[in-house]
Amino acid sequence: MKAKNSNSRETNEALFLIVPAIAIYVVFAVFPMVDVVWLSFQKWNGLDASKQFVGIANYVDIFTKDPVFWQAFRNSVIWTVLSTIFPPMIGLILALGLNQPLFGRNAMRAIYYLPVIIAPIAVATMWRWMYDPFFGLFAQLLTSWGLQSWIKDWLGTRETALYAAFIALIWQSVGASMVLFLAGLQSVDRSLVEAARIDGANRRQIFRFVTLPALRPTITIVLVLSVIGSLKAFDIIYGLTGGGPAQSTQMLALWAFTQSMQIFDFGHGSAISVVLLIITLLIVVPYMRWAKKREGGEE
C-alpha cells in the first residue's frame, strides 16, 4: 500500500514536470502533423468555414495533373543526392586535415564553421548578390581574368540555377559536417593508429583500416542529417530563386508552401506535405531503429 502511494506521488510529480513541455509539443508540433494528413483529403482554400471531403482526389491531382510537382520532386531528389554526397565528403576531408597538428587550425575551423551560423535567408541574399551578372563577385572575378564570355545570369538560367543554388549550400553546410566528423575522429583509438604505424602501415592504409571503420557511426549520422536537411530545403531556395526560373529550382517543401499559402489550395499543398513527410519517415524510422539498437549495444 505504501509503495503504491509513493508510486502515485512520483507519477504526479513527473506529470507536473513534463506537462508544460509536452502540452506545447503536442498542440503545436504533433497536432499540425496529424492535421496535414486530414487536410490532404479536403478541398479547402484556407479561409472558408467549410471544407469539402474529396478523398484521394488531391493526391490524384498532384500525381497526374501537376507537372510542377514532378519537377519539384525531381529537383528534391537531385538536391538530396548532391547534398548527401558533397558537403559530407568535403566536411570529412576538412576534418581529417584539421585533426592534424597544423598551424592556425583553430582559426581555420572557425572560418569553415562561420557560414553555418548565418541565417540561410542571409546566405541566399549574399549569394544572389555574388551571382549578380553585372557587378557580382563572380562576374568581376571572371572579368579581371579576361573570361567575360563565361559570365551569365547563373540564377536566372534554367540549366544552371539549381546547381548555382547548390554551390551556395555547399559553402554554408560543409562546416556542420566538419564539426561532427571532428568529434567522431576523437573516438578513433590512438593505440590502434600507433600499432598500425609500428607495423608499417602508411597513411592511406591507416585511414582505410583504422580511421574509417571507427568513423562509421559518425558517417551514418552525418548522412542521415544531410538527407533530412536537404528534404526540408526552403529558406535558401526561397531567397535565391523563389523556385524559378520557370520552376527549375522548385522543391517539394517550397511547392507545398506555395500551393497552400500563395495559391490557397490547402488540399494540394497538404498532399505534397504528406508525400514529403512519408519520404522523411522512410529514412528516419530505420535510422532511429539503428540508433536505438546501437544505444542498447553500448550499455
Binding site: Y25, F28, N99, L102, I117, L180, L182, I228, F234, D235
Partner: protein, 292 residues
C-alpha cells in the same frame, strides 16, 4: 558525450617528427587556400557595404572601399525598418530561448530520473520529433495559429518555436541527466525533497555547461528562423530580422551598398555570439549526436 576540447585535441596530435613532413605542408597550404576562399564572400560583402553605387560599378570586387560610405548603414537601417525588426527579433529570442530550455530541462529530468507509466513511450515520441521537418507543416501550423487568433502576435510565433525546439533539447538533456549518479537524487529524496527541488537545486546547477551550449545553439536557430515567421507573421510591424532582410532584397536589390549593409546588420548579432561562445557551440553540436 564528446567535447572537442583542446586537451583531447593535443593528445591526438601525431608526434612531430624531426624532419619536415611534406605531406603536412601540402595539406596546410590546401586547407589555408580553401579557408581563404571560404572567407572571401564575407570580405566582398563587407567591402561592398561601404561603397557607393558608383564605386561598386567602377572598382573591383576585392578593392577596399576608398571612402567609407557609412550612410549605407543608416539608409538601410531606415528603409529596412531595422528598428522594428531588430526589436521583434530580440523580444522573441529573449522570451523563447530561456523559457524553452527551462521547460525542456524539466521534462528531460522527469523522463530521465522518475519512473512513471508511459515515460518510455513519451521519450520515444519526443525523440521522433527531433527528426521531423516542420517545413512540412507550415500550412496546418498557419490554420492552427489562425484559429487561435494568434497570427501576428508574439505568443503566436513563440509557442510553435517552443514546440519545435523541445525535442532536440529534451534529447540532449535527457542523455546528460541520465549520466548523473543515482545516489545524488536518492539522498535528497530520503531527506524529503520534491523532484522539482532536486531538479532546481541540484540538476540545473550541475548542467550549466550543457545548458550554455543549448542556449547558444537555440539563440542562433531562433534568431535565424525564417519559414515559420514568414507564415505566422504577416504584418510588417511584427516582422523579424530575416523577414526584413528578405523584403529589403525584394525592394532594393539594386542599391548594392545598402543591401550589403543590411546583410551585415542581419548576420552580425549571431556572428558575434558565435565568436564569443565558440567552444560551447562545438560542445553543444556534438553532444548527443555523436557519441565517443
Amino acid at each position: 558525450m564528446t567535447s572537442v576540447s583542446e586537451n583531447q585535441m593535443h593528445a591526438d596530435d601525431i608526434v612531430i617528427k624531426p624532419q619536415r613532413d611534406w605531406v603536412l605542408v601540402g595539406l596546410w597550404i590546401a586547407l589555408f587556400v580553401t579557408a581563404a576562399i571560404w572567407l572571401a564572400p564575407f570580405v566582398f560583402i563587407v567591402f561592398t557595404s561601404f561603397k557607393s553605387n558608383g564605386d561598386v560599378m567602377t572598382t573591383s570586387a576585392f578593392a577596399p572601399p576608398l571612402h567609407l560610405q557609412t550612410s549605407n548603414y543608416t539608409a538601410a537601417w531606415d528603409k529596412g525598418r531595422f528598428g522594428t525588426t531588430l526589436f521583434n527579433s530580440i523580444i522573441i529570442t529573449v522570451i523563447k530561448v530561456p523559457l524553452g530550455i527551462f521547460l525542456s530541462a524539466m521534462c528531460a529530468y522527469a523522463l530521465a530520473r522518475i519512473r512513471f507509466p508511459g515515460g518510455n513511450i513519451l521519450f520515444q515520441a519526443i525523440l521522433f520529433g527531433t527528426m521531423i521537418p516542420f517545413q512540412v507543416m507550415l500550412a496546418p501550423l498557419f490554420t492552427l495559429v489562425n484559429s487561435l487568433k494568434l497570427i501576428d502576435t508574439y505568443p503566436g510565433i513563440i509557442l510553435p518555436y517552443l514546440a519545435f525546439g523541445i525535442p532536440y533539447q529534451v534529447f540532449i538533456l535527457h542523455a546528460f541527466f541520465r549520466a548523473v549518479p543515482r545516489e545524488l537524487t536518492e539522498a535528497a529524496r530520503i531527506d524529503g525533497a520534491s523532484h522539482f527541488t532536486i531538479f532546481r537545486r541540484i540538476f540545473l546547477p550541475i548542467s550549466l555547461p550543457v545548458l550554455a551550449a543549448l542556449f547558444i545553439l537555440d539563440f542562433v536557430a531562433t534568431w535565424n528562423e525564417f519559414a515559420m515567421a514568414l507564415v505566422l507573421l504577416q504584418d510588417r510591424e511584427m516582422w523579424t530580422l530575416p523577414l526584413g532582410l528578405s523584403a529589403f532584397q525584394g525592394q532594393f536589390s539594386r542599391d548594392y551598398g545598402q543591401l550589403n549593409a543590411a546583410i551585415i546588420m542581419t548576420v552580425l548579432p549571431a556572428t558575434l555570439v558565435y565568436l564569443l561562445f565558440q567552444r560551447y557551440f562545438v560542445a553543444g553540436l556534438t553532444s548527443g549526436s555523436v557519441k565517443g
